[in-house]
Structures are given as C-alpha cells and as structure tokens.
Subunit: 416 residues, 2 copies
C-alpha cells in the first residue's frame, strides 16, 4: 500500500520553497560580545554610527600636499615643496598646510588641514628638507576621504547573515562590541529502530550500529545550532509517540532517522500524527538515495523524517533539511564548494529524482576528473568516505555520459 | 632602503612549497572519543577490524531466493516459489533455504544460509504463501556480500584527514569509539602598533581600532586550532622582542600583525631576529594586497608577519598562512567554494603579484555575475563585507576584461 505514496515524490526544490511558506521558526534574539559571534545568525542590520575613515587619510606612503600646488608638475617642470614634518599613523596634527608646503605621511595617516592630495613616495625626489614632484595629480588623489569607506548611517552587514571573520573585522572597526544574534536553534536528533545498538555496545553481527545520530550531530555542529542527540527509540508506536511529544516541547525542530521507509513499518509518520496537531505531512522526496525522506509540521514545529539507511539519511539532511533550516530562520546559507570536473564513466539516474552520486574527484594533468564510486544499496558508508563529492544528477536527466563536464558538490579534499 | 626588499617578492606558491620543506610542526597525538573528533586532524590511518557488512545482506526490499531457482524465470514462464517466512532487520535466522523456497526480506536484512539472490518486490506477484517471479536474475544479484562495503584490514580513512561528518559515520559504523588525533595547534595572535586601541576603548578619531587580532582569531576558529589573542604590543623593539620570545615558548606558531611594512618602521622583523635563532626570513610575498607579508622560522617555529592593514592582513592569512598551517602539520585542507562567474567590468593587476580582487557575485537570469568592489587603499574593510568573494588574478596576468569568465573564491552567500 505504502508504495503508492512514494510514487508521488515531492521535488526537493518544491519542498524547500513550500515548507518555509507554511512555517517559520521564530527564534528569540540575544545580545552577545561581537568576538563570540562567529557563525551566529545576525538578528539586526549593522548600521555604522560614524564615518569611516573618520578623517581624510592617505592611501599611500608619500607626501601630503595642497593639490593646486602640483597641478602643473611634470618631469621637465617639477614642482619643489618644503617638507614641514611628518604624520605618524594614529596621530592628528593641528597644523594647517599652506602654499608650497608638504608633509610626509605613511599609509593611513590623517591629513592635516590644508593638505588634500597625496603624492606617493615613488614620484618624489627628496633633497634636504625639500621634495621635487615630477608628476601632476588631480586634487584629492590618493586620499581616502572621510566616510569614503563607510558613511555614518550606512548599512554594512545585513540581518540574517551568518557572521564570518570579515564581519568580525567590520564589527571591531565600527566599535560595535555587542551584537544581536538569534538564539541557538535547538534540534533534537532521535534515532529509531529496534535493530540499533550504540557504537560502544557489544552486539551480534546482525545488529545495526547507530551511525546516523552521530553523523547528524556532526552535520548540525554549527555555532548557530544546538543539537541534542537523544537515545535510540524502539520500533514501538507508544514509545515513539511519547519521545516525539516530549522532545518537541523544548526543541525548535526534530530530526528522526529510521522507520520512515513506506512499507513494512510506518511507525514514525504514524507516531508524529499521534503526537499532536499535524498541519503538513510530506512523505517521499525526489532524491536518490533518500526517497523516503519526509517533513511534517507538528504543533507548529518542523519534524524531519530521514531514512534509517546512513547514506540516504545524510543525503536527506544535506539536500532537504539543511537548506530548510536556514530558510526557516531567515538566515543566508553560506556558499558550498562546487567544482567542474570531467566525468570518468557514465552515471545513470532515474527520471523524476535528483540523484546524489558519490564521486571521487582527482586532479590529473591540471584537470579535475570525477570518478563515480561503485555502490550497491544505500547503506554503504564507504561510498561516502571513499568519495569526496556528490555529483547531483537533476531530476529531469537520466544521467551523464563519461567525458561530460559535470558540477560536483565537494565535501572532502582533492587528493593527488 | 627597505623598498629594494619588497621588489624581490617571493611567489606565494613558492613560499607554500618551500616553508614546509624547511619546517614541519611536530604535534603530539591524543586519543579522544570519536564523537568529539569532528574537525580534528586524524593522526592514524583508520583500518577496519571486520568485514562490512558482516554477513550477506539484501540490497532491496523483496524476496531472498536460491539464484538457480529463478535463472529461467520470464514474463511468460514465471517461477513460483514458496514463502517460508520473513527476515527482519537486525535479526539472524538459523534456517537454511532449499529448492523452491523464498523468504521475505527488507533492505539490509541478513540472508539466511542457502539464499544467495534477492528479487526486488516490484518483480514479484504475491498470492497466498507463494510468489511468482517473472524476471531472471543473475546469481548473487541485489545482495551486498559480506565485506563488499569494507573488507577487514582495509584502510578506510587516511591519516591527515580533517574528520568530517561522514568520517564520524564511518567511525561509528566500525565501532571505533576512540580515535587518535593531533593535539590542537596552539597559535598566538599578536597585534602590534602604538596607534592601536581595542574596539571597546574610547579614543580619539585618529586612533586605529585593533580589528586584525579579532579577525585572525575568527579565521583560526577551527576545531584543530587553539588560537590565543594576545594584547596589543607597542612599536618598541624591547617590548616586541620580549612578547615574541615569551609567546614562542608555549605556542607552535606566532601570527603578528602590523609593523611589517618595509619602510618607516621595520620593527617586527627586527624583533623576530633578536628573539632567537632565525633560520629563514622571507619578507615580501607576491600578493596584493599583502605584499609586506613575511614568514620567519624562529627557534624551529613559524612566525608569520602580516600587514597591519586589515584587508592586506586577512589576504595574507588566507593566501599564505592558512595553506601553510595545513601543510606544516601534514593535514589535508578541506575544499573551498570556487564558482565561475562572468566579470562585469575590467579588473587590472600588476604583473608579478597575485591580486585578491574583492568582487560581489550575484545571480542574474541564471548566470553568475562578478562585480568588482571599488576600493582605494588596503584598509577598507567594507570592500570585504560588501563583496562575497575574491577574484584571484594570477601573477602572470595583468587582469581580466569585462565579460570574461573568471573563477571566484566565494566566502559569502550569493544574494538575489
């Protein structure tokens, strides 16, 4: 009966567009020290409260001059100016430059009043306390003017940005030492299946090791997420319903793995239905591996149902859950490494599903070659660790021929 | 005098090749729980201590059969088999399959003895306790054989790998709950310059805010690195020498920022020389911004000297320091996001330096467009936060024309 369900697969892009329209995760905000904010979701636009630079600064090492004095300078008719001193970085001189004067400046030094142009050191000949300028410069040249980098009131970092090291530099520069970020997204990771044992447990060879909960925790290890790995729940409707109901209380989202394959045991979706008010239930996503992947909205919170098979589970997370989490909290997902490579041998895929084919990308004679990793079944984790990237065959394609140029989502280093 | 120095710029690739030949950072190893090892440097090859799967498993949902029984099956001459039961996942049945028999299996179920082939459920008609198989399958088809995923004794993850979520899955799968990793690389970040004030300090507009130390700490925020941000050191030979000498003791590497621009103040390289035995001193790297970047080997440890100008400092770190750190501890650097985009307007660069041009990559009509961010001077942090990628103009090129296809090292999200 269940197989009928899986035939009506929802396209992954459709699911990613649809779910956030139905549901946003409302996170509160908190104010933290800027130097603790790396990787958090910025919850406010950052507006500069002053001009940067705050004064006119020299863009080069050289001599600050009055621009009108050097307008006529040329190699044959150099202009001679008197050097009246020098400006160190971090110092503001109260002197005023007048006609025929120059002052030595380092890069970033503040120009004293009267001086509006900088002659870089390489265009200057120095003799005694005079310089000879042999080139004309437009007035204002080689000066970073007050507010030229950032204007007071200017928006410099957008709300929703995942704060990166350059943002940290900007926050320091703006002296914005406290910053408003979203509270951490609390996710419960719930492995299900009576066949599961923990990696440190002794069990017979027929038992399946709980790998998914550990891999999902690792995939969720981001500064803006706080993931809790819960214990294994047995294939039991009561136990599952209870685990879901209790964990949805103090988490923003649930990620379940196992028991979602429509067929034999349909326990997870049924338990979700019993656990509370369900507003949306998508079962079956057009990805391979990972077709049994599902999403539900339970009591106003997202519940992700991933396959129990490790590769399908991880592909489901990467293809569906991760982009949805960013979208549902209105955060901008950072870029992922994508390379173009020449496919070594043909890759086939079914129409109607986006296939995540594990490939090993190697550099050969300066060219990137993507070799598909042989797989059988979706549980072979070695296909992930042998490979270093996913070749995503779009749902409208039946595959790619050997020799084609393809795009690979890289996740591991390229080896020689 | 110093300018002569900077003219003999060392190519960044040469520096990255040369320094690790002169110097490896010897880190000790430690054994930690596998689920705490994400992002650490693996210090041993991971060898499987058993076959995976440990028994023959079904690759699909369907019926396990004796292959010889269905060799002749076809749509017109289907083969009928008696279903003797079913195998749940995680269970090992001690029965033995004989001629004319089949047993129901789920994906991943262990095949009982005698059954060597699986007929997927879609090729089967079920009636009473019998199935009709209407297609022939080679013997062994749709079975993941013992050891087919991973063989006992097989190397599954290589020493030097930065452990990723898929490796975590593999370690769980192999029940390798403890794992040997490199101790964390201890880096001291030392901002220098008498003009510096901290972001939270009140100072006049001429003071420069210490942004670099915070940005560098953020760039070093990786699970395998432990970075310590030290206080600002004044432009004073004594103070600098003392700070370098004391911090090199309990760190594996030093990163200094400021005071390296050859010219006025040559204090940092001089202080490094005074602090101990210097075996290598590279000053001036062929990158723009970041020409004053330097590397020294002091008392057998690397000392990186970065520009005091924020953008030059960060480019120096990204172009030189980061790749060197990975190489010097023999770790494999994870891939970085690179996209191809159409350049919107001409970008110029000097021959002999690799230019890190800040560009803003946008998606327009399905195409990526890279627009250079206007900059003057190397201190404009807004050029980094306005942009989302570096277009790296190689040292042999004078730039790219508008309309060319270029590669961009993306660091921020692509916005609509």
């Amino acid at each position: 009966m269940g197989y009928r369900f899986l035939k009506k697969l929802v396209k992954v892009d459709e699911a990613i567009a649809l779910v956030p329209k139905k549901l946003k995760i409302e996170l509160t905000t908190e104010e933290i020290d800027f130097d603790k904010s790396l990787g958090r979701v910025l919850a406010e636009d950052i507006i500069s409260s002053f001009d940067l630079p705050p004064v006119n600064e020299s863009a080069f090492e050289g001599y600050a001059v009055r621009g009108v004095d050097v307008l006529s300078a040329s190699q044959y008719y150099p202009v001679r100016l008197k050097v009246i001193g020098d400006v160190k970085i971090g110092v503001g001189l109260t002197i005023e430059g007048t006609q025929g004067q120059a002052i030595k400046v380092v890069t970033g030094a503040a120009l004293p009043n009267g001086f509006d142009t900088v002659v870089p050191v390489e265009y200057v000949r120095f003799s005694g306390d005079e310089i000879e300028v042999s080139k004309s410069f437009p007035i204002g040249d080689n000066v970073i003017h007050k507010g030229e980098d950032v204007k007071k009131g200017q928006k410099v970092i957008r709300k929703g940005k995942i704060i990166d090291p350059f943002d940290i530099a900007m926050l320091a520069h703006l002296k914005q030492t406290r910053v408003k970020v979203l509270e951490k997204l609390r996710i419960a990771i719930i492995p299900t299946g009576s066949e599961l044992i923990e990696p440190y447990e002794i069990g017979d060879v027929y038992k399946t090791v709980n790998t998914n909960a550990y891999a999902l925790s690792a995939l969720c290890k981001l500064p803006w997420i706080e993931a809790h790995r819960l214990g294994v729940v047995q294939d039991d409707l009561e136990a599952l319903t209870c685990a879901i109901r209790s964990s949805i209380e103090d988490h923003h989202a649930l990620v379940l793995t196992g028991g979602t394959s429509v067929g034999e045991s349909d326990l997870v979706p049924e338990s979700v239905r019993r656990a509370g008010r369900v507003d949306l239930m998508i079962r079956g996503i057009g990805i391979q591996p990972g077709r049994p992947t599902g999403v539900a909205v339970l009591s106003g919170k997202p519940v992700f149902m991933l396959s129990g098979f490790p590769v399908a589970c991880m592909v489901g997370f990467i293809a569906l859950v991760r982009p949805l989490l960013y979208k549902m909290v209105d955060a901008m997902e950072p870029p992922r490494p994508i390379v173009r490579a020449i496919l070594k041998s043909r890759v086939s895929s079914s129409l109607g599903v986006a296939s995540y084919v594990r490939v090993k990308v190697r550099r050969k004679d300066g060219e990137l070659i993507a070799e598909p990793v042989r797989v059988l079944g979706s549980s072979t984790i070695s296909s992930l660790t042998d490979a270093n990237g996913f070749l995503i065959v779009p749902l409208g394609s039946e595959g790619f021929d050997g020799g084609s140029e393809v795009e690979v989502l890289l996740y591991g280093p390229i080896q020689r």
